[in-house]
Amino acid sequence: MLSADHVSFRYAADGPLVVDDVTLRLADGALVGILGPNGSGKTTLLRLLSGTRRPSAGQVLLGGQPLDRMSRRDVARRIAVVPQETELAFEYSAIEIVLMGRHPHLGVFTVEGPDDIRIAREALTATGTADLADRPFHELSGGEKQRVVIAAALAQSAGLLLLDEPTASLDLGYQLEVSSLLQRLNQQQGVTMAISTHDLNLAASICQELILMRDGRVLATGPTNEVLTPENLQRLYDVEADVHIHGDTGHMTVVPVRRVAR
């Protein structure tokens, strides 16, 4: 279980609080969505939860243990991160990228063995990218890249996956593909996930719980069907929105109507 206990963060000593007194809990097996307008601190919160940044105040606990007292390697064995964008400075094939996910499990001079390669191949298969294994990463389409990056995070064999806007640069088809992939990983492999996103309908369709963030603070949190209300959406985005239940899928759907003053 990953939890944040009154966590605050500022990038510069005299800068504003980007994350302001956030307390939350990520139960094992949960699939939680983090919603909020641009600059609300979602990405920073994910960085704090993954321990790549240290809170200015408060603590992030992994299984009851403070994250900043664990080594990066130990954290990376239990938490994997999927960043918003991955840009390569040099050329690697998809399988090379995925094998890099094995880094925290290997010693300094250890080379990936048959097990590591099997895990990497399984991760590629799970994300539907097995046939891309030997293709150069930079030649892949946006959706293929995103799925390979998710495969790399899966190859890390961490029980917890933190994803930063995983569908942001994808077209409608890939959005569906990635979201159903995430749902499948959560339900079939029991991977715990926190997903930051601007896609309210994605959040509504796959997340069991939502955390609404604005100005670094948690505005509301709870089960999706309780939190995703027109009132909350207006407080979150200053947008008047209708929330419906979609007939076929049973998901909630959000239709933005108009911008309103704060």
């Binding site: 790549t52 990066r72 991160v81 991955t86 400075a89 040099f90 050329e91 690697y92 890099m100 880094h103």
Partner: protein
């Protein structure tokens, strides 16, 4: 797919090639010598002219070329990965211009005295490199969070031009003979004369390569970006520190030995990536070995092509390396 076997095969192939070049290069020169005669233990040393020429006259120069080439090529690989910039060279971060300034001052002020068989010029050069490394490191880490690669780059580039101006100033004020010596030094010279300068530089280079040995997989991850690397379990700031300090140390020691020989630190890493891909567990050792062989061959060309006139090796590395590299680039695309 057996990664270990691939690593061993590639590195062994490069090693065999490099050893062959290092053994062959000393046999070439104004007097041709026979390798088997030079290594024949049956002939006493006093009578074995081939062995004397091989070990005393030519091998030190070849070895210094190999060491300088390996250091510059490996430092180039490490810095390019750490800065996520394929255009970085060992000289980008100001270390070599610090080294050059140190050497210039030693020459201009006539401090050419020997110390345990090592001239004061390489010592001053190494001191200048360490000074430059210290300044750049201090600037880049003065910000609160870790090491800023942006500040590292900007500080290095600025320091380069600042030191270059100081070098020009020193040259301008020096008399004609000294001025020529300083210019000659800047063109690179691997004719170290004996084994002492090599032995003096070797501990620093061995230390740097000791750090290089633990870096490759971390470098792979650093090229994906700091956040990704941290998420995969890399202690990013520590890795960047190690990479910067070891690469600077190797560069400083190499420059003190052979002068700032350009082009090796950028062309060799790129050639090697074209051959073996981007996995730094292959690129780093292969570039070190290829850099050694490349530099020895360039120096061989420099001392034979217009014999008895010897050209500065720095001219040859750029003259051979540049067009060859461009040809490869065009051929590949």
């Amino acid at each position: 797919m057996n990664i270990r076997r691939r690593l061993l095969t590639v590195v062994s192939l490069f090693a065999v090639g490099t050893v062959a070049v290092v053994l062959w290069a000393p046999t070439v020169g104004s007097t041709s010598i026979s390798l088997s005669r030079a290594f024949d233990p049956a002939i006493p040393w006093e009578e074995n002219v081939d062995a004397q020429i091989f070990f005393v006259a030519r091998l030190p120069r070849v070895l210094s070329g190999a060491i300088v080439g390996a250091s510059l090529a490996a430092a180039g690989v490490v810095l390019q990965a750490m800065l996520r910039n394929p255009l970085a060279t060992p000289f980008t971060l100001g270390v070599s211009s610090g080294g050059a300034l140190g050497a210039m001052l030693a020459i201009a002020f006539g401090l050419d005295v020997g110390l345990l068989g090592v001239s004061s010029i390489p010592i001053a050069s190494f001191g200048g490199s360490l000074l430059a490394m210290g300044i750049v490191y201090w600037l880049a880490s003065s910000q609160k969070r870790g090491l800023s690669t942006n500040v590292l780059l900007l500080a290095g580039v600025t320091l380069n031009s600042f030191f270059s101006a100081l070098i020009l100033f020193v040259q301008y004020m020096a008399d004609f003979t000294e001025s020529f010596r300083t210019i000659r030094w800047l063109m690179g010279d691997l004719d170290v004369g004996s084994y002492s300068p090599i032995l003096a530089a070797l501990p620093f280079i061995v230390a740097a390569f000791g750090v290089f040995a633990i870096l490759p997989r971390t470098l792979n991850l650093l090229t994906l970006g700091e956040d990704v690397a941290a998420g995969r379990g890399v202690e990013v700031v520590r890795a960047q520190r190690l990479a910067f300090l070891s690469a600077s140390l190797a560069t400083g020691a190499a420059v003190s030995l052979g002068g700032p020989i350009g082009f090796i630190g950028i062309i060799v890493p790129h050639l090697v990536r074209l051959m073996v891909g981007s996995d730094h567990r292959l690129v780093l050792p292969a570039a070190a070995l290829f850099g050694a062989a490349f530099t020895v061959l360039c120096d061989l060309t420099a001392r034979t092509i217009m014999a008895p006139l010897e050209l500065p090796v720095g001219i040859i590395t750029a003259l051979i390396g540049g067009p060859f590299f461009l040809w490869l680039l065009v051929k590949k695309s």
